[in-house]
Every structure is written in C-alpha cells, then in structure tokens.
C-alpha cells in the first residue's frame, strides 16, 4: 500500500467511503432502522451526488462555470422515462429496464451536451456561464411544450409550439398511454429506481470521473484550465478536451436524471429549473472545486440539510441561507485558515486534488 500514489489513495478512500456508507445504510434499512423520511432521501441523494460529481468535472476540473446543468438532468429524466415506459413490454425485468433507461438518458444528454458544447465552448468566462444558463432555460421551455405518447404503433411526438395542442393530438390508439403531457410533465411513471441502483450509478460516476482526471485526458483538461495558451503551445487540442469533459459530464447528469425521473410517479420539467442548476453548483463549490469526494459529501449534506431543518418550519430556508453564507465566509476567512493551520500541522504533500 505504501508505494501507492497519494492521489490513488484518496481515490480508493473515496470508493471505500461510498461503499461503506452504502453498506451501513443498506443494513440499517434492512433492519427497518431508517425512518421513512430518511428512506425517501436515498435515491435523490444518489442522483444529486452524481450531478455534483459530473458538474465538478466541468466547473472544477475543466474550469468552465456552467449554470445549466439541470437541463441535462431534465433531458436524461424525460428520455429515460420515455424509454422505460415504451419498453415495459419488451423488457419486463425492472432492473434491466432501469439500466436501459439510464443508458438512453445518458446517451440523449450526451448528444445534447455535444450540440450545446459546440457553441458554448467557443466562449469564455461569464459569457460561457450565461449561455449555459440560457440553454438550461431553453431545455426547460422546450420540454414544457413536448407531448409524447406510446401505443402499439410506436412512439408519437407532438410539439406544442402554438399552445393549441393537447394530448388528443397524439391520436393514440386504444390502450396507448401519454407519457409526457407537456406542462404536467410525465405522469403515471412506473417507479423503477432503488437505492442499490443509485449506489451503482454513484460508483460508475466516480470511477469514470476519477479515472478520467488521473489519465492523460484529465491532465490535458486541467492544463487547458490552468493555462490555455501554454496548453495550446504544447499541442493540446483545447476545444477537444474541453468538449470531452463537457460531454462526459452531460452524460452522467443524464443518467442521474433518468434515475431521478424513474423514482417518482410524476415529474414536471419545472423541477429542473435554474434553481436546481444553482443548487448543484452550490454542492460543488461547498464540496471544493475539483475535489470529487468533497462533491459527494457536499451533495449529500446539502440535499439533506433543508429536510433536516424542517423542525424550524417557516424559518428553515432562512436558516439554510444563513448556513450557506456563513460556511462560505468561514472557509474563506484567512484568520480561521491560519488557526486551523496551526491546530492541524501542515502536511508535506503538495495539493492532492488540484
């Protein structure tokens, strides 16, 4: 073990930590020791961990501020729901269908990520941020206008551009179901998601992202982040590497979306609005930019925090806001840093996580 690299140790610790958390929670759940409220957090927490990890790839590793990550989650959620609902007869086995739905969600989000990445990655800094925000809004509005139905003849799509169409315009045959009903979103979804599936997805996301960061590709991406011109001068194709990070991130967000979509029987596209993108960004920044295990903890803690604050009823979101500001101030306070630095002796190793 001793000759392992520091980064490798941190990575393995992350895998082990997540696995341990999964095992402990599973055992508790098996013994009925979890409250219903806690049980209801499990799947969304997994989804948002994957969201945070994937966003960290863009914001932390690739260094581009994205304010529209929820858009990819939305694409993944609705394409995953459509896949799962339309394949319910072809693939009766629920876990397999869930896997297929997640793959479809990931694939759709990756395609969207690629198409969006072409214009987005031409821009820099805050201009890039506002364009991702714009795409997030556009995706939300487009899905609000989308009607999808399934019957024996296959899938039917109607796009409600003029606001005059309704589910009847899908002209479904007898026995057909409307899967996405525009504003109302998806209704009557068969729930497939489970905590083990969430765990597997988190592990996949971690393996993909961590291996990517430690690979040649990851080093190239970070080189582009740290100094674009220097990276270009040594022959790194900046656009290509930024695109890789963007698409992988979108795909993971899509898979998380599919899992999220299949854990509720109804879901509207308004769930994936600007606020959701911002929430995920908060998870990433509080967890630490470029710090993957930080994102895991950040997402878990901050998703649960408002739920845990329910005792405060009307004041809970106010307290949440104050906690957010105080944590940001505390983590950036020089005196506090110096104090902590004195208590915990500075370690010799260089920065482990960029």
């Amino acid at each position: 073990m001793k000759n392992l690299k520091k980064t490798t140790k941190v990575d393995f610790a992350t895998y082990i930590g997540v696995t341990l958390a999964f095992l402990i929670v599973s055992v508790l759940q098996g013994r009925d020791m979890l409250t219903n409220a806690m049980a209801s957090w499990l799947v969304p927490v997994c989804c948002f961990i994957v969201m945070a990890v994937s966003l960290n790839l863009v914001v932390g590793i690739s260094g581009e501020l994205s304010l529209g990550h929820a858009g990819f989650m939305s694409i993944g959620a609705f394409s995953g729901i459509v896949a799962s609902m339309s394949l319910s007869e072809a693939i009766p086995l629920a876990p397999l269908r869930l896997a297929v739905a997640m793959v479809v969600g990931a694939a759709c989000a990756a395609v969207a990520g690629f198409l969006i990445g072409i214009p987005v990655l031409r821009l820099r800094g805050d201009y890039l941020a506002i364009v991702t925000l714009a795409f997030g809004q556009i995706i939300k509005d487009l899905i609000t206008c989308l009607l999808v139905g399934y019957d024996k003849r296959g899938l039917h799509f109607v796009f409600n551009l003029d606001g005059l169409r309704s589910v009847n315009d899908l002209h479904l045959e007898e026995g057909g179901v409307a899967i996405i009903k525009g504003a109302q979103g998806a209704v009557g979804v068969t729930k497939l998601a489970s905590f083990p599936a969430g765990y597997i997805l988190v592990m996949i996301a971690l393996v993909v992202v961590l291996n990517m960061i430690r690979s040649r590709t990851g080093r190239a991406i970070m080189a582009c982040r740290d100094n674009r011109i220097a990276a270009e001068s040594v022959g790194i194709n900046v656009t290509k590497y930024k695109m890789i990070a963007f698409v992988v991130s979108a795909a993971l967000a899509g898979a998380a979306g599919a899992l999220f979509g299949l854990s509720y029987s109804g879901l509207a596209s308004s769930r994936f609005d600007f606020n959701t993108s911002i929430m995920v960004l908060v998870y990433v920044v509080l967890g630490g930019l470029g710090n993957i295990w930080g994102s895991v903890i950040g997402a878990a803690v901050l998703y649960i925090l408002p739920e845990a604050l329910r005792e405060f009823a009307d004041y809970r979101m106010l307290i949440y806001a104050i906690v957010l500001i105080l944590v940001m101030l505390a983590t950036n306070n020089d005196q506090l840093k110096a104090l902590v630095g004195r208590i915990i002796p500075r370690r010799k190793e260089a920065e482990t996580n960029g």
């Binding site: 714009a134 606001g163 911002i278 509080l286």
Partner: protein
C-alpha cells in the same frame, strides 16, 4: 397599429430590464462579481415602496425615495457583510454567497410580508389623453422609458466626469494599481453597490407599477432577464446594458406576438446565444485579448 402596441409593450418591458441591467453591469464592471441577489433587492424595493404608500400613507415620490434609501443601505450592508470578506477569494465563492443572500432575502421577505401577493398601486400613474391610451401607451410605460434614459445618461456622466467615477473606472481596470494610486477600493465598491441598489429600488417600483403583483419571488426572473440583458449588451458597459435591456424586451414582446407565447423565453435566450456567438463579448463589450 397592433404592431405598434406590441412594440410599445416591448419597449416598456425592456426599459425595466434595462434599469435592472444598469445596476447589474455597474456592480459587475467594478466588483467583477455576478450579484445574483440583485433581483431580490428589487423585490425589497417594491415591498418598501408598497408599505410606505399603504401603511404609512406617504405620497408616491416620498415612498420611492424611502425605498431607494432602504435599498441603498441594504446594498451597502450586504456588500460589507457578505461580499467584502471574500474580496480575495475566488469568483465562485462570491457567487455562492450571492446565492445565499438571494435565498435569505426571499425567505426573509416571506416571513415579513407573507406569501399572499400584494397588489401594487401604481406609484407613477397620471391621466393620459385618450389618443395615447388607444395606442396602448400607459403612463407607467412613459415614466419607465423616460427614467431609464435619464438614469442611463446620468450614470454615463457620473462615471466619465466625476472623481468617484474615475475611481470606479480605475478599480474596474486594475484594483491593485488603483489602490497604489491612493484610491480607496473598498469605498469605491461600496459606492457602486449603493448606486446599484438604489437603481434596483427604482426598478422595483417601476416593475411593480406596470405589473401590479408583488410577492417574495417577484425579483428572481426579472433579475435573470436583466443579467441576460447586461451580458447581451456587453457586461460592464453602461450603454450596453441599456441597449441590451431594450432589445431583450422588444424581442420578448415580438416573440410572444408573432412566434409563440409558449416559447417567448426560449426565443429570447436563443437570440442571446446567437449574439454571443457572433460577438463573444456582447454587443458593446470590450474584447480583451489574452496576454501570453
């Protein structure tokens, strides 16, 4: 004829965006931070004016002034407590703090003023000749457009011809160098926040005068739109924010009228994307070449 009334509503909406965007762009230009709490300061401005008029019975002008004073203080306090300690930290840390402040203001407003929307009596209403009303022109629209132009000109003059304006421009170029020249950077940024927040108060009153309902979430969407407008015109540029806001309003109204009311927002954002692809720093933004 109908086209004209659409155009009027677009200009009127755009002027509100422009006033908010002016505040956004000032703060961004000098402090280099995306102040996501700006939209919520607008909401607070609306509520203060509402309370002054309804509960204190103050005349409209006094209410607007009171609301400007309160928002100015609020802006300076927010800057001092939440943003100043993060001056040396990364831009993302400030962004997250701004989001925290935004949540805080929204939820505090809900606790203070309740969740039921308040109906805002127009603070700037006066009778118009019949001919203008038939064209779809309202007194609010006139006041909004006029005050927007006045504010834009005043700001431009202030930034270009006063000592403080010069200090602001210096800070926006290079904070370190400005400090070496004896400029009090912290004070300059505070003044910027004060101006931005006072503008937000005006925008809040005008927004609520035209669109009557006031609730804790009133500011968030106009805030995002104004941010878009500021980027559209080139963030940091005062005439840019003005033009960006106006164009955004007009595009939104035209998209609603002639393309699809469903997708008006999406179309606005799509136009933004196209513009940024052609001009990556917005319409009037300065292109800053990278140094090697």
């Amino acid at each position: 004829m109908v086209f004209f009334s659409y155009l009027i509503s677009g200009i009127s909406l755009g002027s509100v965006y422009a006033i908010i965007a002016l505040g956004y762009t000032m703060v961004y230009g000098i402090a280099k931070m995306l102040n996501f709490a700006h939209g919520d300061v607008i909401m607070v401005g609306g509520y203060i004016c509402y309370c002054a008029m309804t509960y204190l019975g103050l005349p409209a002008i006094a209410s607007i002034l009171l609301s400007m004073v309160v928002c100015t203080v609020l802006g300076v306090v927010i800057e001092g407590l939440a943003y100043r300690p993060l001056r040396q930290a990364g831009s993302l840390a400030v962004l997250i703090t701004a989001i925290g402040v935004s949540y805080f203001l929204q939820n505090a407003a809900q606790l203070i003023w309740g969740v039921t929307p308040k109906i805002f009596t127009s603070a700037v209403s006066f009778p118009l000749p019949q001919g203008l009303t038939d064209l779809g022109i309202s007194s609010e629209a006139i006041v909004t457009v006029v005050s927007c132009v006045v504010i834009m000109i005043a700001l431009t003059l202030f930034v270009n011809h006063t000592r403080m304006g010069k200090a602001m421009r210096a800070c926006s170029e290079d904070k370190g160098a400005a400090q070496l020249m004896g400029i009090n950077v912290n004070r300059t940024i505070s003044v910027t926040f004060a101006i931005g927040s006072a503008l937000a108060a005006i925008a809040g009153v005008l927004l609520c005068s035209s669109y009557t309902t006031l609730m804790p979430t009133t500011g968030s969407m106009p805030g995002i739109k104004a941010f878009t407008a500021a980027v559209f015109g080139g963030i940091g540029s005062i005439p840019g924010a003005f033009i960006g806001g106006l164009l955004l309003g007009i595009i939104e109204a035209m998209a609603k009228a002639y393309i699809s009311t469903n997708l008006a927002n999406a179309i606005v954002f799509a136009v933004l994307i196209v513009v940024l692809l052609v001009r990556p720093s917005g319409l009037l933004g300065k292109y800053v070449p990278e140094k090697v």
